[in-house]
């Protein structure tokens, strides 16, 4: 299904060509540094021209990525990255559109757009850096936080079952569902490459540790593993796997072949003035 790309091979493009001069605001040790690097590696491996790529985001630590790239970018408002990316891709299908953000942005305030982006299947690669916390606002529970995680805002925990992004994505019609780990550069880069190449909406959850508010996530390094089974195109098999795994299986966990949303403007030579004919008495 997906050919592995040799990302160590020499290509005309260098990952550094895709970085801007803007210095990230992230904390030392943040997983998002790795994801930024992995995105640039994927673009280099695919030999994309920076001006042909648009990185679109919402609000949050990870949503800062567009300005750190040398591509076109749009850092929009909280939760609305997917509709912003959808409008851009539908209007300009020749661009490669990558949407980035975090778990709060994508699954809480932007939850409805997540469902409908999965359904709509516009050719966008959606990379969610999931650290199970609101980092930019200094440590509140996000939709993917465990119920008993203590915070100032929710003493003793939220008591709410975590959101299951991969399960929701699959149920909503996503056709490419993957999990990656920021600290696995080779694997994450390959998954991002596959996501960009996949026609239609690709959803990639990247476990990206927040060492400031969730220092225990440093342990993820020892918990993640490549999924012990190959990618499936059978949604019922995928559903059973992702509903029963422990959240640390990495890889493309589902990839189907549903046709992508037909983007692009209809071409026509009819003049707008001719439309008024229908109003004539």
């Amino acid at each position: 299904m997906n050919q592995m790309v040799d990302i160590s091979a020499t290509t005309p493009r260098n990952p550094a060509d895709y970085r801007s001069k803007v210095q990230p605001i992230w904390c030392p040790g943040c997983g998002d540094y790795s994801v930024l690097m992995e995105i640039t590696k994927a673009m280099a491996a695919l030999e994309l021209s920076p001006e042909q790529v648009a990185i679109v985001s919402g609000i949050g630590c990870s949503s800062r990525i567009p300005a750190y790239s040398n591509c076109y970018g749009f850092h929009g408002i909280h939760g609305r990255a997917l509709p912003l990316a959808t409008g851009l891709k539908v209007a300009r299908p020749e661009l490669t559109v990558i949407c980035t953000g975090g778990d709060g942005d994508g699954f809480s305030i932007g939850g409805n757009h997540f469902l409908h982006a999965c359904r709509r299947n516009v050719d966008i690669t959606y990379i969610v850096m999931d650290n199970q916390v609101y980092g930019m606002t200094k440590g509140q529970a996000s939709p993917t936080t465990e119920p008993n995680w203590d915070s100032v805002l929710t003493p003793g925990g939220t008591g709410i079952r975590p959101f299951q992004p991969l399960v929701i994505a699959l149920a909503s019609g996503a056709n490419f569902v993957a999990r990656a780990f920021a600290g696995d550069p080779e694997g994450t880069t390959q998954i991002i490459i596959a996501g960009i190449k996949h026609p239609g909406f690709s959803f990639i959850q990247v476990l990206s540790p927040c060492v400031t508010f969730r220092p225990e996530q440093r342990e993820w390094r020892n918990q993640v593993r490549p999924a012990p089974v190959p990618t499936t195109a059978d949604p019922s098999v995928a559903a059973k796997r992702i509903m029963t795994d422990d959240g640390f299986n990495l890889g493309i966990l589902y990839q189907g072949d549903r046709p992508a949303y037909k983007s692009g403007l209809i071409a026509s030579s009819m003049q707008a003035d001719e439309l008024s004919q229908e109003f004539l008495v």
């Binding site: 970018g73 509709p83 409008g87 300009r92 661009l95 409805n112």
Partner: protein
């Protein structure tokens, strides 16, 4: 009998009885006979089975408001009549046509001084194969108005032709039966011009808005349905398939506004349409378009608020949110058409302005302007086309938000090599890079304000008519009642009142207003809102002469020309 310059007719019935269909056919037949006119549907929130009335006004001159009272009320039945009785004031010599089979005329309507004629509408319909009561009604009204059968036949053929020869024939037979049954009714000649009316348009404000948008170059639309704006979107869906472009149905209004920002960032002129509840949801996105300097147009077809309010009725109560609803200081455009015809011009101009200045424009139409089907003279063609200042290349580092003299900076379109930048809702430096520096904020605020303050809006900011020491200031759909009131006053010899109907509400134009108001001693502000939003807006931004007074009320009952005339008279004499 004295010929009237206008007459009003209501066809009422429960939903599904076909009163709206009969009304539309009557309006089009009148149009083909040389009349101007409007038709509004008065419907409840029910999809089927609620009240439904076709409220028609026909005239020998262009009109943009209801009449004062009804000359003819024809009831197919009286179910739910109490719900719209307040919208149906009967004139003193009005005629009520009722089917005795449908029971007594409800007290709320029978209380008028109107003359009543009973007609067995249901029985007459049954006398024709597949006859329907609403076609009897059409025949009765055509006979009273002396509309020639050929005009009815032509309209039936056009509107029912695709339903087959049989349907067409039975409809015409039923209309003919209705005409025969009304032979002895007193005739009330159709108000019309001497010519045939050929070349005129039959159009709603929502359609005209769509046409204006497409003419200006809108090619991407994101849509979330909402009454009474849906027809703008539905019309555009078909139109964009014809002229090229794309409409995407969004999951909600938050998505639709962000989709058009994304598409416009990609270089395609983009628009969405909504009503009050949707506009509330879009405010954050509109602010993003201000900060990132992405041109978009949001049409708000206003309905009665607050909250869900009354979805099927008009009010001018979204002025405050449109002008002041943003957080932060967010220079943007707010425009409003002053008539159904003007929906086309103002939509086209809005797109042009938004694109020229790289700002969001909010276009405030309303349910009356949007949904009334109107016979109008063809609007003058104007040449406003989306023209964006596009960056092609850059010597040195590209500054997306460069501090230019006009405030408008050349905008790079994704795909252009060497000009990559990140658009942002965060305050930014000229490069687009986020910045918290006071000098960057001050510079960008000044630039965003300057570009809309310094733009040349020409004389389009307002429609001004008449002269004299009195001024009536209004906006939007109430302009129709004010214009007609002033016409009536002029006919009475009172010609010292000027009308100022504002089309550009933000940015305010105090200098132009001062010039326009030169010599005015007294001002009256007329609008359709409970709190007088427009009055307070004027007091905040303009110098008004003397002690300005106001005539305003909430929807859903629109201001009528007669009461508006009386209010103006009382104010003028005070």
């Amino acid at each position: 009998m004295k010929h009237k310059t206008s007459m009003s007719i209501a066809i009422v019935g429960s939903g599904g009885a076909g009163s709206i269909t009969a009304g539309n056919l009557l309006l089009e037949a009148a149009a083909r006979s040389g009349s101007y006119g409007i038709l509004t549907r008065s419907v409840g929130p029910q999809i089927r089975g609620g009240e439904a009335a076709a409220l028609i006004r026909l005239s020998s001159e262009p009109i943009d408001s209801f009449g004062d009272s009804y000359d003819i009320l024809l009831a197919l039945d009286w179910k739910n009549a109490d719900r719209f009785a307040a919208e149906l004031p009967m004139g003193p010599h009005g005629l009520i046509i009722t089917d005795p089979e449908q029971g007594a005329i409800p007290a709320v309507i029978a209380g008028s001084m109107a003359q009543v004629r009973e007609l067995p509408i249901g029985k007459l319909a049954k006398s024709v194969t597949k006859g329907r009561p609403n076609m009897i009604a059409l025949g009765v009204l055509a006979e009273i108005l002396s509309i020639p059968p050929e005009a009815i036949q032509a309209v039936l053929t056009k509107q029912l032709g695709d339903k087959g020869e049989q349907v067409l024939q039975s409809s015409m037979d039923t209309v003919t039966a209705g005409m025969a049954a009304a032979r002895d009714f007193a005739k009330q000649p159709l108000p019309k011009t001497d010519d045939s009316g050929s070349g005129r348009w039959l159009v709603t404000g929502n359609q005209a808005t769509g046409l204006g948008a497409v003419r200006a170059g809108i090619r991407f639309v994101a849509a979330y349905p909402i009454t009474p704006a849906t027809e703008v979107l539905e019309w555009l869906a078909t139109a964009l398939q014809k002229v090229g472009g794309k409409l995407v149905q969004a999951e909600d209004e938050l998505a639709s506004v962000n989709m058009i920002i994304g598409a416009s960032y990609g270089g395609i002129p983009s628009l969405t349409a909504t009503s009050g509840p949707g506009l509330s949801l879009m405010m954050e996105g509109l602010g993003l378009a201000v900060s990132a300097e992405v041109p978009i147009v949001v049409v708000d077809v206003m309905r009665v608020g607050p909250s869900t309010g009354i979805a099927t009725k008009a009010e001018q109560s979204d002025l405050n949110i449109a002008v002041y609803g943003f957080h932060g200081d967010a220079p943007h455009l707010v425009l409003a058409p002053v008539s159904i015809t003007d929906c086309l011009f103002t939509a086209q101009w809005s797109v042009y302005l938004a694109e020229a200045m790289q700002v969001p424009a909010i276009l405030l139409s309303d349910q009356f302007l949007g949904q009334a089907m109107s016979i109008i003279d063809p609007p003058a063609a104007v040449n406003f086309k989306a023209t964006r200042n596009i960056a092609q290349h850059s010597d040195g580092e590209y500054l997306r938000y460069a501090d230019t003299e006009s405030g408008v900076s050349p905008m790079a379109i994704p795909g252009t090599p060497g000009l990559q930048y990140t658009a942002d809702g965060l305050e930014h430096a000229m490069t687009g890079t986020p910045s918290t520096k006071a000098e960057d904020h001050a510079l960008q605020m000044d630039k965003r304000q300057r570009k809309i303050d310094n733009f040349d809006y020409g004389d389009y900011w307002a429609e001004v008519e008449g002269s004299g020491e009195f001024a009536v200031i209004t906006w939007g759909s109430t302009t129709g009642a004010v214009r007609e009131a002033l016409r009536r006053l002029r006919a009475e010899g009172i010609d010292d009142i000027r009308m100022v109907a504002m089309r550009l509400l933000a940015p305010a134009q105090p200098e132009k207003f001062r010039h326009t108001m030169a010599g005015v001693r007294k001002a009256l502000v007329i609008e359709q809102s409970h709190s007088g939003q427009f009055y307070h807006y004027l007091r905040a931004h303009y110098d008004l002469p003397g002690e300005p007074e106001q005539f305003h009320r909430a929807g859903p009952l629109l201001l009528r020309p007669g009461e508006t005339t009386n209010q103006i008279k009382i104010w003028r004499q005070a």
